[in-house]
């Protein structure tokens, strides 16, 4: 059986969708088809990939308009009576064909306050934690940094607020640090101001596209929004803090 693929070909100065037809077999994923097309029809087709197992987060692209990993999207999930549309992630600058420049993400990550543990619990310089306390942040550690959540987020994708908003990936990163039982750093003010958490309007698109099924909005972003509300938008909490500091 053959299937048609419309693949974006071009670079930052322009491009267009090219149609390719290739033989498909049971069990194939989109990345397999792209490799076949690359081998047989378009040797110069640029595509970033690495593990083919959904763990490296390299082959992120938009398949029929939805951000997905090409290696984890089976062709049997897609309607093949029409051409499968493949395009690069829209939220980042295009390098060539399906490859975008995601380096902005690494710049953002460097600006987030690092993990700062409390003094060691034991004389040998080690700490003690209970599994119960670490359960919550372990979910966030599943992130493979595919940046599909950044791509789908309309604050970055549509409104291009890259300078004001760090995006769901890094809100998950901040949540992993901020909720860590050993961490003593305070990132709440940074969340409100430099990280722009208020720009998130909880449409949950990031949660929908996450290939690791991290409940980004409910477990990371909203709890962080609540911590920001505690500090900045809750007058009763503010009063409580004032009284507590007087009593001390």
């Amino acid at each position: 059986m053959k299937a048609d693929f419309q693949i974006w070909r071009g670079n930052a100065s322009g491009g267009k969708f090219e149609t390719y037809s290739t033989e498909i077999a049971e069990g194939m994923v989109v990345l397999d088809a792209v490799h076949q097309i690359q081998a047989a029809h378009a040797n110069d087709l640029a595509v970033r990939w690495n593990c083919k197992a959904g763990k490296c987060g390299s082959c992120s692209a938009e398949i029929n308009g939805i951000p997905k990993l090409m290696c984890m999207t089976r062709l049997s999930e897609l309607p093949l009576n029409k051409p499968v549309l493949l395009q690069p992630m829209k939220a980042f600058p295009l390098i060539k064909d399906l490859v975008t420049d995601v380096s902005w993400n690494f710049t953002v990550k460097k600006k987030i306050k690092k993990f700062k543990p409390r003094p060691p619990d034991a004389q040998d310089g080690t700490w003690r934690m209970l599994q119960q306390d670490i359960d919550r942040v372990q979910e966030f550690r599943k992130c493979i940094e595919c940046f599909l959540c950044q791509d789908v987020c309309h604050v970055l994708r549509e409104h291009q607020l890259h300078a004001a908003f760090i995006g769901p990936r890094f809100l998950v990163h901040v949540a992993a640090l901020e909720m860590h039982p050993l961490d003593i750093e305070d990132r709440v003010e940074e969340l409100k101001k430099a990280n722009g958490i208020g720009y998130c309007n909880i449409t949950k698109c990031c949660t929908t596209v996450c290939p690791e099924d991290i409940t980004i909005t409910d477990n990371a972003i909203i709890p962080l929004k609540e911590r920001v509300a505690d500090r900045f938008y809750d007058p009763l909490k503010k009063l409580f803090r004032i009284f507590r500091s007087i009593n001390k």
Binding site: N64, G65, T107, L130, D133, V155, N201, T203, E226
Partner: protein
């Protein structure tokens, strides 16, 4: 920060390369919420047919002032402005209304369905400017936790209404001491209403934060830890609870209204 040059910048409402029916979900939410808003506004302004026997419509509960036997403080208060339409629901309905309006789930849903902000994931928006919840007016959504506190009281009031819905007066009796235990379909309707509202309110994101989410270590606080687990459990199905409770509140009012109007008969089980 350097300017980011993105691919495929298209403006205007509804551009997307999605091939599925992306519009179906926001449209369905728009229709359901609109029906609910219209009905509840209409019902709240009626000021009649909100009780039937021991049943009180949840839209009117607690009836602080009013003409029915459920009223806490007697008839319409003298301080109510004469030029304003009077209905007991107007004194109370704003609190659960704002609780839902500022709910994290509903916010995400109505930003898509009513504001097209965005209409659906990877679908373009009609507006260029975007402020999100970072500044006025949407920064006010942070008030949600205060309306949670009020909503928790409403759960108590509605539970008390279920208790009252278990005690029926015989036909023609005037003395409240003559009430006898019974269960009608209306009792079950009101009980289900409390269960669904409980599932929704007790799974609230703000409550999850309040009971333990603000802490980084719950192991030292076992009661908080248990409470956090329970709220998180309900929170996982927050959307489902939100919709079920929304429709059941409306249905409860319809049931009592139609019984009161004589259109439906309330069947006594016990």
């Amino acid at each position: 920060m350097a300017e980011i040059r993105l691919t495929d910048i298209r403006r205007g409402l509804g551009h997307t390369n999605r091939k599925d029916a992306w519009w179906a979900r926001p449209l369905l939410i728009f229709i359901c919420l609109t029906i609910f808003l219209i009905y509840v506004t209409w019902a709240a302004f009626q000021g009649n047919h909100y009780t039937f026997g021991p049943y009180l419509s949840p839209l009117y509960s607690p009836e602080l002032f009013g003409d029915s036997t459920h009223s806490w403080f007697g008839a319409k208060p003298g301080w109510w402005p004469g030029q304003l339409h009077w209905s007991p629901a107007l004194l109370v309905l704003w609190a659960p209304g704002i609780f839902r309006l500022t709910c994290y789930y509903y916010r995400g849903a109505y930003y898509k369905s009513f504001w097209a902000d965005p209409p659906a994931c990877t679908v373009t928006e009609p507006r260029k400017k975007y402020l999100g919840e970072n500044s006025f007016p949407l920064i006010i959504q942070n008030i949600h936790r205060y309306f949670l506190y009020l909503a928790l009281f409403f759960l108590l009031f509605l539970s008390y209404d279920v208790w009252k819905a278990l005690w029926f007066m015989p036909p023609g009796a005037t003395d409240t001491d003559e009430r006898s235990f019974g269960i009608g379909i209306g009792t079950l309707v009101l009980a289900i209403n409390v269960v669904l509202l409980g599932g929704y309110t007790l799974g609230c994101h703000s409550l999850r934060h309040l009971v333990g989410g603000f802490m980084d270590r719950l192991s030292g606080a076992p009661i908080r830890g248990r409470a956090y687990q329970c709220v998180s459990c309900l929170n996982r199905r927050h959307m489902l609870w939100a919709w079920m409770s929304l429709f059941w509140v409306m249905f409860s009012d319809i049931y009592i209204r139609l019984c009161s109007m004589g259109v439906w008969n309330d069947f006594r089980i016990l």
